[in-house]
């Protein structure tokens, strides 16, 4: 097998939201990643018991420090450890980078519509940052569905990019919206999806990432709205949010 487990040293970490943490690793033996790829993370207990899970890279393509942002799943096996226990200076093992399909390459010139549910923003952030790193001019839009305003990952960075006119960002709040928000909190409906995303006649490349039910609903909505099936790429994080 070509892809091997390699060590990754945690060099920096900070809370993104109360429920999530961004972890920055140095992994010199890892091949250079593309925007949108993920790694497998392996934890090993002292008696040799291991557990592994997939985590998307939030860092831009080619970055020498890789960044993960992990949401704490209540009673989860791996995510609470990564969010609450792993300390700067500790090693874990990673394998990858994995996936050649859910990726955005700077050579792509077509408009891009990114659609994230919850922590599904992570690989899309890598695409946004990669476009920034190369000064890309392909139009890029983000629709980000989150439970609450406080739950937004990368909020400051996204706000700064929106203010600078580099990225159009739309939010849908599913549990609780800010006081002055234009819409009630609620799920992303097909109508809202069509209203807040690039139209099918612009033939955008669409990347959808998040919990499985979110991705299912959004991908169905896009197809119904008239987007080409082949233009929609999806990454499903799992059964729950």
């Amino acid at each position: 097998m070509r892809v091997r487990w390699v060590p990754a040293l945690l060099v920096d970490a900070h809370a993104q939201t109360p429920a999530s943490r961004t972890l920055v690793f140095v992994a010199p033996d890892l091949e250079s990643p593309l925007a949108g790829q993920h790694v497998d993370v392996r934890l090993t207990a002292e008696d040799g018991y291991t557990a592994q899970r997939a985590y998307s890279l939030g860092s831009p393509a080619g970055a020498d420090r890789i960044e993960l942002t992990v949401d704490r799943m209540p009673d989860g096996e791996v995510s609470p450890y990564l969010v609450d226990m792993l300390q700067v200076g500790n090693l874990i093992e990673v394998r990858g980078p994995i996936g050649q399909f859910f990726v955005w390459r700077p050579e792509q010139t077509e408009p891009v519509q990114l659609i994230a549910g919850g922590s599904g923003i992570v690989p899309l952030m890598s695409m946004i940052r990669t476009r920034e790193a190369v000064g890309g001019t392909a139009p890029m839009r983000l629709l980000y569905s989150v439970r609450t305003p406080e739950g937004r990952l990368y909020a400051d960075e996204l706000d700064a990019l929106a203010t600078a006119g580099r990225l159009e960002v739309q939010y849908v709040y599913t549990r609780e919206a800010p006081a002055d928000w234009e819409r009630e909190a609620g799920r992303l409906t097909p109508e809202l999806l069509a209203e807040l995303t690039l139209a099918p006649d612009q033939d955008p490349a669409v990347y959808v990432c998040g919990p499985t039910p979110f991705v299912e609903a959004v991908a169905d909505g896009l197809v119904q709205a008239g987007h080409r099936v082949a233009s929609i790429r999806t990454e499903r994080f799992g059964p729950s949010g």
Partner: protein, 196 residues
């Protein structure tokens, strides 16, 4: 190895002998697909077999049922590291579709509604592959591959093509969708053949 995660204990009781290396036990049924879920009506469903000499056979839904489905109880293993033990399915053995077909082919190249493809060695599929249309006593959900998917449980689950509609018999191996996108040509979970 030699890299330990201080303070990590894990969910011990879920580590089981029956699990291939690196897999964990999953109670739910996660979904792995590269794009939107195709919605196919059984009335429009058709499965076509094409041999290496270009001979074709097709089955509609009823003709597929007429081949004689059976119950299947099996473990399944996804490359994203989850496994489910003792899942139950209903489906038609692949052998029935191949009955009386003259072929020297060594590979099966499965294709799906929506354009998905995957490849596997034909020789190891005897008695180990099905076209499955029920899961856990109910019609297979579209997001899990309904109306019908391939079920090849001895390989990682991406080989069990969802929404299957074509079976091509090939004399030379050809990479399918995930196999072109970083995943292994064979995909045996017990040998951890996950990636290139």
């Amino acid at each position: 190895m030699g890299i330990f995660s201080p303070g990590f204990t894990g969910r011990r009781h879920e580590s089981k002998e029956e699990l291939p290396p690196g897999q964990y036990l999953e109670r739910g049924f996660p979904v792995l697909s590269a794009g939107p879920t195709p919605r196919i009506d059984k009335r429009d469903w058709e499965l076509t077999l094409v041999t290496e000499r270009g001979e074709r056979r097709s089955w509609n839904w009823q003709q597929m049922l007429d081949l004689g489905p059976e119950e299947i109880a099996t473990d399944i293993h996804c490359v994203t590291a989850w496994s489910k033990l003792g899942t139950s399915w209903r489906g038609v053995p692949l052998d029935r579709f191949l009955d009386g077909v003259e072929t020297e082919a060594q590979y099966l190249f499965a294709g799906s509604y929506g354009g998905y493809t995957t490849n596997m060695p034909l020789g190891e599929l005897k008695g180990r592959a099905w076209v499955a249309f029920e899961y856990d006593g109910a019609d297979l959900d579209p997001e899990h591959g309904g109306p019908a998917r391939l079920l090849v449980p001895h390989l990682y689950f991406w080989k069990s093509a969802k929404w299957v509609n074509s079976l091509r018999l090939l004399t030379a191996d050809e990479p399918g969708f995930w196999e072109r996108n970083g995943y292994n040509m064979h995909g045996d979970p017990w040998r951890e053949e996950r990636y290139w």
